[in-house]
Amino acid sequence: MLEFKVNSQSQSVDVDPTTPLLWVLRDNLGLTGTKFGCGMAQCGACTVHMDGMPMRSCSLPVSVVAGKQITTIEGLQSKTAQAVQKAWVDLDVVQCGYCQSGQIMSAVALLESKPKPSDEDIDQAMGGNICRCATYVRIRAAIHAAAAQLSA
């Protein structure tokens, strides 16, 4: 039995400890907001927070997660997260939307560590999140908009 917290709720799962967190979230806990895009830490669709840090859950064996706090897109609640999601909606960032859970998780983590990110900071923090619909212009604009709203 492996125990950890997901979105503030205690969970215990009985799975092969090498199972990536992504599939535990999706297949065992029914939390399907976190997406699968590559399975090798290339695309960021599976990004979650582990103790506040953005992590690629497809490449994170669930054994590593024992005792940790995991936040997924379903559990976002912070002021920063709300500002990010509002900016995303206000600017109509999404197209197919499939990458956007991961984009938002990365953006929230960025703003929580750097409330006023520069374009270079955004390139750095968001470079691991692919969007095949290429919504990057709006992702950048929405991060700046959320930062502005949070500092207002």
Binding site: K35, I130, A134
Partner: protein, 739 residues
């Protein structure tokens, strides 16, 4: 109705509408003139029959047509007949319906249409499906009529109830008012459903639009997609749902010799290992045990098409391009003489690789065989294909097959597949398991990347001549590449070997080019080909627009002026060219180390011109800093979504221009995931400035037309900066130095 062979996809188009059977894809896309007629028939259809087919209509609900349902509890449901893959068709169609209905757009409930060609066919194709940037174009009048009909019946019901003239009733945001009277749509639903369906309705004058053309009209799916609540195929939950991954042939055409499932079955969670037409499926209680099981599987294959190498294909195609025997695309007997007597000539050969679509959500589909029927859940972009082929795979009549259409995490053409490969494999696995349990076949990224259905590899060879004044006098063009249409129901549209999906953008051309001859060679290969966002225009625009640019330079003329000279009877294309040049400051100098390139292209009835501003990175590779886009797509239904599609089109096209390349060695695909099939990342995304032509013409598509001009605009900028002409894509691996 003509049925050739109802069991094959080849019958689908022919069976749908004899008026459109046998036409090429281009003709399908063009043939929208019958819209009004088709619609008339549809509206006249019995309203109860229509309601019965649109799914669960609550008792007392008002369902005046197949697109609008209003329940007594005031839930307004709009039925969307097009696949949503990110392009915003849902928002577009909902906007048009809500506009004429005077519903509150943000409050409507969206439902995707079931497979029912009679009600939900694409009026541009005659069959049910989404593609060719037709969603708005074919639906505009139809959705307006549907919305206005429903509104008119609600108004009649209110007039009767309140005993006031209909003309005194105002409607806005889902509420009807007349004097002191007020009622929501829901309160009038039952009464409205008893009104006769009007034979004709008055549509709004565009000056009355509150939603169409308004900047503040937003996407209807943003919130769900920003909170992880949107349901894609990968998210479908059903009791007892199993997950399968398929071990597929390592080389194109390879056949299974044998497999040993013992180790795979020993993995905890693996429930079945079954042979299917696509390979060997490992079925499990979740994705990880399925993947683990597949790793443990021992499979033997034969060599398949082991002689297939892309390096050799380029060589072969170059030879074919230089040789005779191509199909005639267009022929002018004066071409040879015109080129022979030209004052100067430019000759070039161009190479374009296979391209994978690599949509963000790897392909998948859920199939459940139970109680003598089949249900599927999937990104059914082309229900016309998927319905017939799922039924065939299941061995069931079509009326025992129910498709649940879901949004997709991108498609770019991949999910509109005449073989319905990703649907059929799920049905095959469900059948092979032999128990009435639902199963999702989920591809890994590697499965998705390596299974073919690519934009084909193409080679073009062009010779063009100028006279002493710098005017084009002749043009000889050869194109070599697999036919996309040959294996589809549209094969009948290929006349004398001329597949327009290989040649669109070269011929017909909006440019007045004298003495033009073009030929097409369509070799067959073991790699299945497929349309890829903007289809033939992905390569034809590159060749036409870089060659014209080269000719302009040879003629010492400005590339914009040079194009305009050839477009005297093309006011809309000339219009976007002037607009893009003006907005980009085309005639002003660029700072040192940067250059602009120009390209324009007409595709899917939409006109786009782009100016790319590029610089070189220290390592000699290319950085695209800004792209200015001018687009004329007729009436703007959702201006901000047009901007979004242009931005996305630029980014998607730039990914391919910089990196897109599928190589094949000994029949096996070299690339496997995003580390070796690179796509665009945020630090490489240029600024994009989009300008939309104000137009009252009928709306046309925007999903694809933003793609074609990007690569040639970038290549022309590179030529301007370095003097080097780009003749092959991708740019990765090619380094440049400033002239």
């Amino acid at each position: 109705m003509r049925m050739i062979d109802p069991a094959t996809a080849a019958a689908i188009f022919a069976a749908d509408d004899s008026a459109t059977a046998g036409l090429s894809r281009r003709d399908f896309l063009k043939n929208t003139a019958a819209v009004g007629l088709v619609f008339g028939l549809q509206l006249a259809a019995n309203k109860k029959a229509a309601a019965a087919d649109v799914g669960e209509v609550a008792p007392g609900a008002f369902a005046p047509n197949a697109f609008v349902r209003i329940a007594p509890d005031n839930v307004v449901t709009l039925v969307i007949k097009h696949h949503e893959m990110g392009q915003g068709a849902t928002t577009g169609l909902a906007t048009i319906l809500a506009e004429e209905l005077d519903a509150e757009l943000a409050a409507v409930n969206i439902e995707y249409a079931p497979a029912n060609a009679a009600l939900y066919k694409n009026l541009a194709f005659g069959s049910q499906g989404t593609g060719g940037s037709t969603a708005i174009a074919n639906s505009f009048e139809q959705m307006r009529q549907a919305g206005a009909t429903a509104r008119s019946m609600l108004v009649s019901a209110a007039a009767q109830r309140w005993k006031v003239p209909a003309s005194s009733i105002g409607v806005s945001n889902g509420v009807l008012r007349s004097g002191a009277h007020r009622a929501t749509f829901g309160e009038l639903a039952v009464a409205a459903s008893q009104q006769p369906v009007p034979q004709s309705v008055t549509l709004k004058d565009p000056s009355q639009f509150k939603l169409i053309g308004k900047q503040q009209t937003r996407r209807v799916d943003s919130l769900a997609k920003c909170t992880g609540k949107a349901t894609y195929t990968i998210d479908v939950k059903l009791p007892g749902l199993l997950t399968a991954v398929i071990e597929r042939p390592p080389a194109f055409g390879a056949k299974l010799i044998s497999f040993d499932a013992r180790a795979a079955k020993a993995i905890k969670g693996v429930t079945d290992v079954v042979q299917v037409a696509e390979g060997v499926a490992v079925v499990a209680t979740g994705m990880w045990p399925a993947i683990q099981g597949r790793r443990a599987l021992k499979v033997q294959w034969d060599g398949g098409a082991s002689g297939l190498n892309t390096a050799a294909l380029y060589q072969d195609y170059r030879q074919r391009a230089a040789g005779a025997g191509g199909a005639t695309v267009t022929r002018d007997p004066q071409t040879a003489a015109a080129l022979a007597s030209a004052a100067s000539r430019v000759e070039a050969v161009y190479e374009f690789p296979y391209l994978a679509h690599a949509p963000m959500e790897p392909l998948n589909c859920v199939a459940w065989l139970h109680d003598g029927m089949l249900e599927t859940w999937g990104a059914h972009q082309f229900p016309a294909f998927d319905h017939a082929l799922a039924a065939k795979a299941a061995g069931l009549p079509m009326d025992k097959v129910k498709l649940h259409s879901l949004i997709s995490g991108g498609s770019f053409g991949r999910r509109a597949n005449a073989a319905s490969d990703f649907v059929v494999e799920a049905v095959n696995v469900a059948k092979a398991i032999g128990r009435p349990v639902p199963v999702r076949v989920q591809r890994t990224r590697e499965d998705d990347m390596r299974a073919g259905w690519y934009r084909p590899l193409y080679v073009h060879a062009v010779k063009a001549g100028l006279d002493a004044q710098g005017d084009v006098v002749g043009w000889q063009h050869a194109i070599v590449g697999q036919s996309i249409m040959a294996a589809t129901p549209m094969a009948a549209g290929i006349k004398d070997g001329n597949d327009s999906s290989s040649t669109e953008g070269v011929w017909p051309t909006p440019y007045k080019i004298p003495a033009m001859t073009a030929e097409l060679h369509s070799p067959t290969q073991a790699v299945p080909p497929l349309w890829w966002r903007s289809v033939g225009h992905t390569h034809t625009a590159f060749v036409m627009e870089t060659m014209l640019d080269e000719l302009a330079h040879a003629a010492r003329q400005d590339p914009v002026a040079f194009r305009l000279k050839l477009l005297k009877d093309q006011p809309r294309l000339a219009g976007v060219i002037r607009m893009a040049a003006d907005k980009a400051g085309w005639s002003s100098p660029m700072p040192a180390g940067k250059a602009r390139g120009f390209a324009s292209h007409y595709s899917f009835d939409t006109y786009v011109a782009q100016v790319a501003e590029v610089s070189l990175k220290p390592d000699g590779s290319v950085r695209v800093e800004r792209v200015v886009v001018a687009v004329d797509c007729g009436v703007s239904v959702n201006p901000d979504q047009i901007v979004a599609q242009m931005e996305g089109g630029v980014g998607f096209a730039l990914a391919a221009a910089l990196y897109g390349q599928i190589d094949i060695a000994k029949g096996t695909v070299t690339q496997s995931n995003f580390h070796d099939y690179r796509v665009l990342r945020i630090d490489e995304m240029p600024k994009v400035d989009v300008h939309i032509v104000n137009s009252t013409q009928a709306p046309t598509g925007v999903g694809e037309p933003g793609v074609p001009p990007l690569a040639p605009a970038v290549a022309n900028a590179i030529a301007s900066l370095t003097g080097h002409r780009v003749r092959r894509l991708p740019l990765a691996g090619q380094t440049f130095t400033r002239a």
